[in-house]
């Protein structure tokens, strides 16, 4: 288990794996950061929504024969709509209360969703094939890189940068950011703040579902798939800065790399290292590396 002085080949291989895992972290933490940034709610349901995305893709394939490429677009929309419903019916009523209630509500919702799926599908995973166009891989010399995993990195980068661009560089993004700072003022300007909030939550949820669809071909599509992942993603968001988009993206990829390195040198700690970093960051700079204290 402990391997010191490993050849560079193995090192690069693990780093690349780390980058791939980091893509998932980044994609998921992006959704969380968007939601926390605007709603100040820690969306504990994120893991379940990630899982729903994977299951929607699975069901689309098996019941309606709709393949992977369509699912990439459809699943996030479907799950995003459920998110909109949750926000309208339940979350919006909690904004005037302590934010910890929002946390508890989403935690409870996550349990419900996970439990329902477990009842329906059992715990063993459902198979989902890698789309034909992405099968096979490239021999990079230091490792064999499956095409699909390279695709994951690519999509994640595109989506993350795209979201960042919209948030930071477009008018829509500026409305959203302004609404976070001062919702009543922005509303006075005629912007429909509640609707923006609802759509933002839906968007964040859709991002989680997108992560799920991307995960379906390589990980087991099972009701538990989001549960333990979500805790790691929280750590990523907290380290990056709870409201900072760029922070989450960079931290997501960064943490994937750190985890990969740890797996090489000290595999026993690979699960813990993220939390150690989170604890340290919270102590020194509680708003996160890129965040601003609210």
């Amino acid at each position: 288990m402990e391997i010191f002085g490993i050849p560079t080949q193995a090192l690069f291989g693990q780093l690349l794996i780390g980058l791939i895992n980091g893509s998932f972290y980044a994609l998921l933490s992006l959704g969380l950061a968007v939601i926390f940034g605007l709603l100040n709610i820690i969306n504990f349901t994120h893991g379940a929504q990630y899982m729903m995305g994977a299951f929607v893709a699975y069901l689309l394939l098996n019941k309606l024969e709709i393949g992977y490429w369509w699912s990439l677009a459809l699943a996030p929309v479907v799950v995003g709509i459920t998110g909109v419903i949750i926000e309208r019916l339940m979350l919006s009523k909690l904004y005037k209360l302590d934010h910890l209630y929002g946390l508890l509500l989403t935690f409870g919702l996550g349990l419900i969703i996970q439990g329902l799926f477990r009842n329906e599908f059992g715990s063993s995973g459902q198979p989902y094939p890698i789309p034909e166009q992405l099968q096979g891989g490239q021999n990079l010399g230091f490792m064999f890189l499956p095409n699909y995993r390279a695709w994951v990195i690519g999509v994640s980068l595109v989506v993350c940068l795209g979201t960042w661009y919209v948030m930071e560089r477009t008018k829509l993004g500026s409305y959203l950011r302004a609404a976070t700072e001062n919702p009543s003022l922005v509303q006075a300007f005629g912007v429909n703040v509640p609707r923006m909030i609802t759509l933002t939550y839906g968007f964040g949820v859709g991002l989680a579902a997108l992560g799920g669809v991307m995960a379906a071909p390589i990980y087991q599509v099972s009701p538990q798939m989001g549960a333990d992942l979500i805790i790691v993603v929280f750590a990523v968001v907290v380290i990056g800065g709870m409201g900072s988009i760029l922070g989450s993206i960079l931290t997501g990829f960064g943490l994937g790399l750190v985890e990969g390195l740890t797996k090489v040198f000290y595999p026993e700690a690979s699960n813990t290292v993220i939390f150690v970093i989170m604890a340290i960051v919270l102590l020194i700079k509680p708003a996160g590396l890129f965040g601003t204290q609210k």
């Binding site: 391997i3 715990s123 198979p127 064999f144 992942l229 990969g260 595999p267």
Partner: protein, 406 residues
């Protein structure tokens, strides 16, 4: 007593089959069998409700009603957690008057139930767990271990593979009692047969992503990557191994514990060529085929795993022993089970040793190619039969304190 009635309704009503005498009036006139396994998790397909069906069939085939024996079956989900398993065992033995617990896959839970059964003087007839410690250092006068164990798997699969040229190994091990035991036993066989172990890596139970472990396995350049894990972990590892081109790179996977439902889940395309050891296959002879038909009728078309078959065989033998011993006291019945030879349609003739180990033949199987399969669940080619007296670890090597004293 409202709570008692509620409990008994939920438990008996949903899952038991024969008379549902309320728990509060259970006396020794009723033989109560508890089937405890994983109903909702990693091993639900291998055991789960199928084991309950197998137990029902066993009670029917034994002819309990005709012999005037009242048998009741209850079941519970231990969720692969030793604390839940031990809680259920305690409650079953203390208040619910359960006489014997069957199945119990997941080695950590089996060890916990093993202790509780010994403490309460009841019977634990295990046909689901793998750890050979149940008949080794944790052996008990209240426990019988059916179907398989890590030593048998290691010996069957390990030596067969080394003999055909797979002499360098890398282990991918599930980090708990079962994984460690399987790795330990297989390593011993590999070394004894002249092979070498180039490396090992431990992964947590229920891992999703094996990429970094598989990478290490590839880097080791071992000819064989031994998967010392089970259920979803094995399936995941096999899926991702093919993704990373492990087969093409000249390395082969050895599934050290694979069950029929796993192959069904993976599909022949991914699973073809896998070699491993089982003690039951539905397609071996007319009797197993007939039994499987009855099983499938109740299971919604799913075919039995060797664990579920093991529940059948062990329940029949248990009932025979009760008939002969004329008591359902745990320790006495277990002792009787060791005296009588075993014989049922699924496992054939066998016996049970002093350390609790049930002996029956084992079969080395290879998964067919998709083109070779002619029907549902037609998955295996039987490569070899290992006779009962060679398949399991010799009694003097187990370190069982009961045996050593003798």
């Amino acid at each position: 007593m409202m709570k008692r009635t509620l409990l008994s309704t939920l438990v008996s009503g949903a899952l038991a089959l024969t008379a549902t005498a309320a728990h509060a009036q259970v006396s020794d006139g009723v033989i109560k069998i508890g089937v405890m396994n994983d109903m909702s998790g990693l091993y639900a397909d291998i055991s789960g409700m199928g084991s309950v069906i197998a137990a029902k069939l066993a009670v029917e085939d034994f002819g309990a009603e005709k012999k005037g024996m009242k048998v009741e079956i209850v079941s519970a989900d231990h969720q692969n957690k030793p604390d839940i398993g031990s809680s259920i065992a305690r409650k079953w033995f203390d208040t619910d008057k359960v006489d014997a617990i069957f199945d119990v896959p997941t080695s950590s839970v089996a060890l916990a139930v093993n202790d509780v059964a010994r403490e309460k003087g009841k019977a634990h007839i295990n046909s689901g767990a793998a750890t050979s410690d149940l008949t080794g250092k944790n052996c008990s006068p209240n426990t019988i271990h059916f179907t398989y164990d890590t030593w048998m798997l290691a010996n069957g699969t390990g030596s067969a593979i080394v003999k055909t040229g797979g002499d360098t190994w890398f282990f991918l091990t599930s980090d708990y009692a079962f994984g460690h035991a399987l790795e330990r036993d297989t390593e011993a066989v590999v070394l004894k047969s002249g092979g070498k172990v180039l490396g090992k890596v431990r992964h947590p139970l229920n891992s999703q992503d094996f990429s970094s472990f598989l990478l290490q396995a590839q880097a080791s350049k071992a000819k064989i990557i031994g998967l010392a894990n089970a259920g979803g972990d094995t399936q995941n590892a096999i899926k991702q191994a093919s993704e990373f081109g492990i087969g093409k790179g000249g390395q082969n996977l050895a599934g050290l514990l694979v069950f029929l439902p796993d192959v069904h889940s993976l599909g022949l395309a991914k699973a073809q060529g896998l070699i491993f050891t089982e003690t039951f296959y539905w397609d071996m002879n007319d009797q197993t085929r007939a039994w499987t038909k009855r099983f499938a009728a109740q299971s919604g078309g799913k075919y039995p795993s060797m664990v579920q078959a093991g529940v059948y065989g062990s329940v029949i033998h248990y009932l025979k022993a009760i008939e002969a011993a004329k008591t359902d006291d745990g320790t006495k019945v277990v002792a009787k089970m060791k005296e009588l030879p075993t014989d049922d349609v699924l496992f054939g003739k066998g016996s049970i040793r002093a350390d609790g180990r049930a002996l029956h033949p084992a079969y080395l199987v290879e998964v067919k190619k998709p083109s070779e399969s002619k029907g549902p669940y037609d998955y295996y080619k039987i490569r070899a039969t290992i006779p009962a007296d060679q398949a399991f670890r010799p009694m003097d090597q187990g370190g069982c304190p009961m045996v050593a004293k003798k």
